[in-house]
Symmetry: C2
């Protein structure tokens, strides 16, 4: 198939004028089946057509098939570090190149640049965005076991070798400083900090990562876990001349759908011929009261089945990153990772990656800071930021519509709390709020929680 | 006099090869007397010879003499905001261009970039370092008084108009987030936070600053308060072809002197003909247990009088900034401000701008992080960072010398605590630790504290 020769950066500034391109509007599956790929052999071709990965080349850190056994044997000879569930998700993220050009868990220089500057300066002087620390904590005993070794094996909970970390550097894990600089608070109750930092070791170990084999979860959702290289292949296969990414960790309602459809319309108006939506739910660690990934994926499937979104111009895939809930800091990570997957447009909502303050009765972040910080972030200048328009239920039309401030009385804001209460009570939202199939999934989810062991129904979070 | 035509940036990489320069080795005063200058009329010439100010032009925000009365009258017609002592120091800092290219108290976009990126992106896409927020807090009542006005008058404690702030923007002051992102902790007991943030208003007001007249403190030290433009003039007058800055807020002992002398020697070896030292004690707010500015200045004068430092190649001046004690974040500010004053070399010590953790028995920052962060900081690439060599008392030589790890038994580390205890007890340190005149000042200072009102002797901090 023909490849596009133009650069996709800065499209909002300069409208595309594709020359010598023969776009093929192949009707792709909305949800491509996972195929088994060799590593990296296609990226050269794909990168020509889409926005360049950070650092110029998409990093993939998987060991080639014929070397895997060798590496597994090598791993038996070196000190081992057991990975937590979240550590494993970061191995997945690093291995597939979502954090390109990062080639492993951060060493101190990368950690410090991330904390202080939300960006990394590369050897050639260029700057890439990197806002959340991707680090591996070890405790005193593990550090002692590593001793003078310059490499360690990373193993999963069953002691299977997952990866090798080489040219390692061990440095202090100042948890308070890490939390303060990442979240802008040290209040106890930050979900990621509670889960992965507070009780973690006092050392961090960085190095070059070699991942033995692609990470699989065996939860029936692996087919959605497309790597950046696979997504890039899919976008090229569909002849996308713009890719707009929508990060989410909540059910999709018709307000979201309206926004995504409207974004495509705007991109077409700007001169793009085939903008493709990357509907990209986060699949790593989320806090207990978020709707679990499996239920969200069911809901997203229904939304596509019901035709609310066009399967021909939508790719649904899972973003394997754990969630920090670090607001303006984290939204940069969410955007940067999607550049690596080929997206040159990023839709940003109100209070992205935000949550309530753990101790105070207020949102942790100003709802507008995410959008503002994203628009000013180092290394993200070539990504086009599309601020979320506010959608609400228009009673005069009986459907979700963009809020019209000239007639506020006509609009009903259905908050996350309201949606949750309705679904828990098996009540229906107004017609047109969410497609019936999607709504039923949500009702079924809360139904499944009805008689939990402790007798308490977990609280869901606002959409 | 002839001006040098070469750029002074990146001298560590490329040795200078001055062409067509006629350096004049005029014997300048170590401590120049303050002269009265018009505003900005010399900067064009001076900038040619020294490292460029951040953003290309040194900003000076003073109202020209003939317009002052007009501005004072204007100020009577607009809402007033009373400045704290620290606010006034920031007006001083901004007015003289230490924070160039900042033209006033930060608006929200500058505040957010400072907190998240420690740098500002300028309209031309270039990046300057800016690591500490320079902001003005107001409370609800003040905000109400400002109302719809687009400008305010800033007045001192005697209600004299100090400045006018125009095109104002008022935005939320999230103190917790500001403190967490600036200090990497929110522990109570951070001196600057206790003094200037915790009890400050819940709003910040940014805008364009016009300072009516140069800030004077009337404490006998104003002659040392040279602006960046005045320092640049002095360096040019002395024919400096390199300026190396040494930030300090403690008495100078012979270890410091050795370091500064050695730095000059190294710069001469590198091919510079006349490196000049900017010995630049911080003159703004410091915590209660630091040695006060007036005593430090007396001590520094003695050091120069006693010939420990060469007055001909040393300029002693006061840096008007308040102290944050924010370690790796603040050291960037200290370095960046000195670029604006013409310094192209910056000496960085162990744990710069550090202090003990307010609650825990440890240093707040890793002693090496300041140096590391400084070397990687955005916008500071053109500044040459000179890491501090460790000096200690060499018992075999009876003087301060660079520590030789091959014979540790010969060295005596005289900590700040030790120095303080000796001075308090009117004991003498080993010969050669500090010049006798300087030591006497220190003893006199502690003597002056001997019978304070509350009967307690304040603790001094380690040097």
């Amino acid at each position: 198939m023909a490849l596009m020769s133009i650069s996709m950066s800065n499209f909002l500034i300069k409208s595309p004028n594709p020359q010598n391109t023969h776009l093929r509007f192949r009707q792709g599956l909305a949800i491509p089946h996972k195929r088994s790929f060799g590593i990296g052999h296609r990226t050269g071709r794909i990168l020509c057509a889409l926005i360049e990965a950070d650092g110029g080349n998409l990093v993939e850190l998987f060991v080639k098939g014929d070397l895997r056994d060798l590496k597994r044997r090598e791993a038996l000879e070196i000190p081992r570090i057991k990975l937590s569930r979240i550590d494993l998700q970061w191995v997945h993220v690093l291995g597939e190149g979502w954090a390109s050009p990062l080639r492993g868990f951060m060493r101190e220089s990368e950690f410090l640049q991330t904390l202080h500057f939300n960006s990394l300066r590369l050897d050639d002087g260029s700057v890439v965005n990197m806002s959340v620390p991707i680090v591996l904590a070890i405790d005193d005993k593990q550090k002692q076991r590593v001793g003078e070794s310059d490499r360690v094996a990373l193993v999963d909970s069953n002691n299977n070798t997952v990866a090798i970390l080489s040219n390692i550097e061990i440095y202090k894990h100042n948890k308070e400083e890490r939390i303060a600089r990442t979240w802008g608070t040290t209040a106890p109750g930050l979900p990621y900090a509670d889960e992965a930092i507070t009780n973690a070791g006092h050392w961090l170990i960085g190095g070059d990562l070699e991942v033995i084999a692609p990470i699989r979860y065996g939860d029936g959702l692996d087919r959605f876990r497309l790597s950046p290289a696979e997504l890039r292949e899919e976008f090229v296969r569909r002849g996308a001349d713009a890719v707009f990414a929508f990060q989410l960790r909540n059910p999709v309602h018709n307000g979201h759908a309206l926004l995504m459809t409207d974004t495509r319309r705007r991109l077409l108006e700007m001169g793009y011929k085939n903008p493709v939506l990357l509907l990209h739910p986060l699949g790593g660690y989320t806090k207990a009261d978020d709707v679990p990934l499996s239920w969200r994926m069911k809901q997203h499937e229904k939304v596509l089945e019901d035709g609310v979104l066009d399967p021909e111009t939508t790719v649904v895939a899972i973003f394997p990153s754990p969630m920090h809930y670090a607001g303006p800091t984290e939204v940069q990570w969410h955007a940067k990772a999607r550049i690596n997957a080929g997206a040159n447009f990023y839709i940003v909502g109100r209070d992205p990656a935000g949550m309530g303050h753990p101790l105070e009765k207020r949102d942790l972040y100003d709802a507008d800071h995410g959008k503002k910080v994203l628009s000013m972030a180092p290394g993200l200048q070539r990504l086009n930021i599309l601020p979320f328009k506010v959608a609400a239920y228009d009673k005069t039309q009986g459907k979700m519509a963009f809020f019209d401030p000239s007639r506020p009385q006509d609009f009903l804001f259905i908050s996350g709390t309201k949606m949750r209460t309705l679904a828990k009570n098996k009540e229906s939202p107004p017609d047109g709020f969410m497609c019936p199939g999607g709504w039923k999934v949500l009702v079924d989810y809360y139904d499944s929680l009805a008689v939990p062991e402790n007798g308490k129904i977990p609280e869901a979070v606002p959409a």
